[in-house]
Amino acid sequence: MEGLTLLATSLAGLLGPWQILYALGATLLGIVVGILPGLSATLGIALMTTLTVNMAATDAILVLVCVYVGAIYGGSRTGILLNIPGTAANAAATLDGHALAKQGKAGHAMGISTSGSVAGSLFGVMCLATLTPLLAEVALKFQAFEFFWLALLGVLMSGSLTGNDPLKGWLMGFLGLFTAQIGLDGIHAHARFTFGYNDLAGGIALIPALVGAFGFAEILMVLSEPAKKAAINAVDSILPRIADVLKYWKTILRSGAIGVFMGILPGVGEDMGAWVSYAAAKRFSREREQFGQGSIEGMMAAETGDNAAIPGAIIPALALAVPGSAPAAVLMAAMIIHGVQPGPMLMVNQPQFAYDVVAITFMATLCILLFGLMMVRPLMWVLRVPRAIIMPIVFVLCTVGAYAIASRVFDIWVMLGVGVLCFFLRRNGFPVAPFVLGVVLGDIVDKSLRRGLVISDGDLTPFFWRPIAGVLAAIVLLTVLLQFHAVRRIILRGV
């Protein structure tokens, strides 16, 4: 009952004219970010964090969540029309979306994208409202031992699942964790790896590093390859069909649940939400042979899954301070910048804020429904702007974004350095998302390990024998060991 009162208060607070304007503007901007190949939800949130730094916390988070939801939704447009997913989360939807467009049903595909995204997001919002307090209550029992494994699990899972090679993903995760160690340490304020430079004593700030990893590196990736001619298909009716929703309600519910679950898993994110939902829909479908050939059910599953993963990824960010995806990691960092401390104590100290996020995500869902119904055709012009114009403009935004939070020229250097490093590593198959998770979670991993060892006086057994810590440790070890063929063979033989 108390939760409902808090939620009603949050919803009422979002009905002001400025809040509605922020929500509409930010969702539209997010859709444009998603539509433009090369611009990710993570970069959109990172840049908008800079722009909203002087706003009130709730307004700033409203803008950022709307950009997040809008970008994941908007990315399917490019997938449907150009066969290039706007964001990684839309890759699964592109399989059937572009096949439908080739059959002259691009508008229908966009309608399915809208209905699937709205259904997934609404399912996720319900889970966000109900699961966040429950998870936070469980997490109140967590000590340093559990937080150490949980944060490490996030980095390793992200490394296992976001690229094609887990070994490279883990190395990027460790590099991110190491990057977070630079500067004054969180327990004794001792300078680590600063080499006498005052700028380094403040550490590598998250936003400049993120803007470099997702912005500058992506700009270099795009500009280093020749442009391809864009072929935009004709668009038929874009109105979502209720009949599709009613026909595939089981797929929607299943994909929503899978999306939320994949979102909650630390470091996994929206793209896995879409792929696993798609695979499950194919497994249970009676129209299995149509998957990949323009299946409405397949597209509905992928779009429901990736959008349900957004609130799913916010749940652990709020309740555990361990984000479920790279965009959620930036969102969490933005919350900290605005004076909100995510984690188990959030529901004790600032319960209203948790419900504000629920209401904000609900509002963002209404905005994508509105823009899905009204703005599909006008937004198509974005795809016609040459990338030779877009990318230099995005670079100027990256420079401003890196500088603006602390007004330090050093942060521009960080953005450039991280960008060049991530560009060359990405070209060699190293994924960037684990690096970001590592930078965000580095402080928790460091403090939790040392606090845990101080509590146990150097005894490692509590890291393995406390019930929850033991389960998390087993998952971490299995995540790593199962990637080795020899270990997998031994385990399978044992089974």
Partner: protein, 164 residues
Amino acid sequence: MSTPRADLGIGLAWVAFGAMVLAASWRMDRLESLNINPWSAPGLMPGVLGALMTLFGAALAGRAAAQGGLRRGGGSAGVPALRTGLALALCFAFAAGLLGHGWPFWLTAFGFLFVAILVFRILDRDAGPPASAGRLALSTAASALAAAVAISLVFEKVFLVRLP
């Protein structure tokens, strides 16, 4: 995009980097003079990470060697040198060379945008409709000016954010 030979080189670079981190962590002050608990020494976590990067870097290099990375001619994945070099040079010239020298931000941004957009529109001209040189320069100048002024105004006047 990666090849076993490239992975071998990069794996060895990880090993070297991890070993350096491990060595620096080992030599880091353990603050014994402050009587801190030895398990809270600041170099503990970086040392663990250095060891992990060394170990996993060696695994990457070993795997690459087993996949034929030691053979000559495997070469690393090619990077289009001209386009990458131009993008890097333009971005560094703007962010590291021009900013912070007292010129108005909108003017610096306009200069960078004009040159960068023009260069890449010329390089990408096969992908779009043909345009005359004058028209291309004029439309590029208009786009660059509009973007530079809009970014300056939105950040500085609307959102009260300081610009470099």
